[in-house]
């Protein structure tokens, strides 16, 4: 007997009890649709994650920091896996400082294409950004070398380039939002904004006079107060240009500004007076000639009157500045190929620093997506298992209803195996059609949801979403539901084939 003959006998019986068949199939459709939609979503997210890691070059990145439990961060911020920033408690940290010398050594590790050093603001040299007369507080500023190793994901504009020597900025999405570019991030590109410094600022662009204004009283935790002998100096405005808008979702959308390392050091490396002589004030402390060597720890002293800078101003060398910061916060190294990432990472780790790779971060994210997929798929599977009870019930009904027909077929020469196959195929067909319709429904759902999701994704990392049901998923769902149909039909079919033909023929 050929398969088509079995099929036509099986389908005929499905058609005879149309309502019952449809309801049974529909139960399968529900589960199949759910699985199709949910797994499509998970797969899409996974594919987009991979694509974004590849596109941004993150997949080839090795992040390096003192923290040995470093969590990879594509913006170069060095974050410990505990979640805290390295500058905080620094619980598990090596003693190896990230110096320029180390950067050179890393750049010579085989398969390393480029390295970028990253510094993160500790002191609030820039207190806020100014745009159209309004101020927004600045929290984190990051300076990095635009060598191509660190390539933060931008949703508009571009990353920094090696030629960017001035105050080109990448601002995080939430800054762009408050600046009024929400949803039209492209229009933020090229916009000039102002970086407003602290009072007492003595970095690049500051006017460094020989006569200092009176020091400012510093209350505790007063953000705008540097304290120290220069604290009376006025704040200045530094012009800057937005060249890119950052997707900072990796950092939990912390507000962030990134700029070229050179410009960053110019601003944050503050000049200091060699010595300051203060005029006495209220005769309280006498002529205080406290050295202005360590600007900032005078906060608890009485304010002094105007002072005179003696011995001129000087600025720490870049090396000293970086050493004072405790070294660079992190390096980002880039391997020539994704296959060398692990090798490069372990070679760098031998320098006594912590490493973390984009590849591992990607795999972690993929693993997470897989777990979500398993949970969602599991829910769909439960729906399918319930539906399979329906198939079983339908098949038992079908066997009962057709008992006499089974007897007749046996009399006409059908073997036990033939009867079993007819019913097995009938049950498998229920599963097959359920899966097929489920995949069709799922695809329609995905098609309808696509513009909505793409719209939602526009502001996030899912830009350019390719939200379609993958062919392997279609096949897997149909194969799966067919399999469930087959299994559900197994026992009823066996029962049918084991019927005694004489009894079956007598059945009313």
């Amino acid at each position: 007997m050929r398969f088509l003959d079995y099929l036509s006998l099986s389908l005929r019986s499905l058609r005879r009890s149309r309502m019952r068949s449809l309801l049974t199939i529909f139960a399968i459709v529900i589960g199949a649709t759910g699985i199709t939609v949910m797994l499509t979503f998970v797969t899409t997210v996974k594919n987009l994650t991979v694509a974004s890691f590849v596109k941004t070059g993150q997949i080839e990145q090795i992040q390096i920091a003192q923290a040995t439990d470093l969590r990879y961060d594509p913006t170069g911020m060095s974050v410990q896996s505990g979640g805290g920033s390295l500058s905080g408690d620094g619980s598990t940290s090596s003693t190896t400082q990230l110096t320029s010398a180390l950067e050179t050594k890393i750049s010579k590790v085989p398969h390393v294409v480029s390295v970028a050093a990253v510094l993160r603001s500790r002191s609030p040299a820039i207190s806020n950004i100014r745009f159209k007369g309004k101020d927004w507080v600045v929290q984190s500023v990051l300076g990095y070398e635009p060598t191509g190793a660190l390539t933060p994901a931008v949703i508009a504009g571009r990353d920094l380039k090696a030629e960017d020597s001035g105050n080109q900025l990448l601002i995080s999405k939430n800054y762009a939002d408050v600046l009024g570019f929400s949803g039209k991030y492209e229009s933020a590109i090229g916009v000039h904004i102002t970086l407003h410094t602290m009072e007492g600022y003595t970095g690049a662009g500051a006017n460094l006079p020989t006569r200092l204004p009176p020091m400012h009283q510093c209350a505790q935790n007063q953000r705008k107060c540097f304290g120290g002998p220069t604290s009376g100096l006025p704040a200045i405005d530094i012009p800057a240009t937005i060249v890119g808008v950052l997707d900072n979702s990796e950092n939990g959308d912390q507000p962030l500004i990134m700029m070229p390392l050179g410009a960053y050091i110019d601003i944050y490396n503050q000049s200091q007076p060699a010595n300051v002589q203060f005029a006495p004030q209220n005769n309280q402390q006498g002529s205080g000639n406290n050295g202005g060597n360590n600007g900032g720890n005078n906060g608890n002293q009485q304010p002094s009157g105007p002072g005179v800078v003696v011995g001129g101003w000087s600025r720490p060398s870049v090396t000293t500045f970086i050493a004072n910061q405790g070294g660079f916060d992190s390096f980002m190294a880039k391997a020539d190929d994704v296959t060398h990432v692990a090798e490069v990472a372990s070679a760098i780790a031998r320098f006594g620093v912590g490493t973390s790779t984009g590849l591992k971060a990607l795999n972690d994210q993929k693993a997470q997506a897989n777990i979500i997929g398993l949970v969602l798929g599991g829910l769909g599977l439960i729906a399918l298992l319930i539906a399979s009870l329906g198939v079983m019930n339908t098949m038992i009904m079908s066997v009962l209803q057709r008992t006499r027909e089974i007897g007749v077929m046996r009399a006409l020469g059908a073997r036990r195996k033939t009867i079993r196959r007819i019913f097995t195929i009938e049950a498998t067909a229920i599963g097959f059609f359920g899966g097929l319709i489920g995949v069709i429904f799922g695809s329609i759902f995905v098609l309808v949801a696509k513009p909505i999701i793409t719209n939602m994704a526009k502001s996030g990392s899912l830009t350019g979403a390719t939200f379609t049901v993958p062919p392997w998923l279609m096949l897997a769902v149909i194969a799966g539901t067919s399999g469930i149909g087959f299994l559900s039909g197994f026992f009823p079919a066996r029962r049918a084939s084991n019927l005694d033909p004489v009894e079956a023929l007598r059945y009313e």
């Binding site: 007997m1 050929r2 003959d5 006998l9 005929r12 019986s13 058609r15 005879r16 006499r404 027909e405 007749v408 077929m409 046996r410 009399a411 006409l412 020469g413 059908a414 073997r415 036990r416 195996k417 033939t418 033909p501 004489v502 023929l505």
Partner: protein, 232 residues
Amino acid sequence: MAEGDNQMDGIKLSQVTRTYTLGSEEFNALNKVDLQIPNGDFVAITGPSGSGKSTLANIIGGLDKPTSGKVLVNGQDLSNLKDAELSSFRNKTIGFVFQSFNLKGDSTALENVMLPLIFAGISPKERRVRALECLDRVGLADRAGHLPNQLSGGQRQRVAVARAIANKPTVILADEPTGNLDSSRGEEVIEMLTQLNRDGITLLVITHDKDVAKHAHRRIEVRDGLVHEKGL
């Protein structure tokens, strides 16, 4: 069969017993039956209800197995056959005709006649030709596309006869073939079966109807599981 003698051909039952067990009670539906039916014979089987007529027919047709004793059909011992062989035996050697027609209600007359040919593994093309031939033989070629509920009772039974002969069996077992028909429709069916017998098929007809029985060459009566020869 090499000798072609009557021992090998035809149907031969020896000491056939069919016992049903109901709880602790044993009941012999057939009790040590010896019976020989040569090929080409036309036998009418009569007897009171519950005497074991259908049991006898089912055992000869390979639908049921005797509790003890031997059944030979054309020299083949049915008790030794596996399911596949026994099914093939029913398919090729036996044609069943039932009292209540037992057509598949969702299939046309033609499809019903094709069913045993499907089980025989005959190609769709040949199946169709042969089924049409059989329908023609029972005079229903023009009703090939009708569903059973679009046919009269007599026509349905004629479709059943066409189905029984589709695979060119050597034996037709008809269990009360006229039981659901009025006398003239019944007569038509019997006429048809008689014609098939004339063409060489062994015909066993179970019937209550004396008019039907009188067409037969031989009459046997089953009573309390025992077979008695009855003269014509």
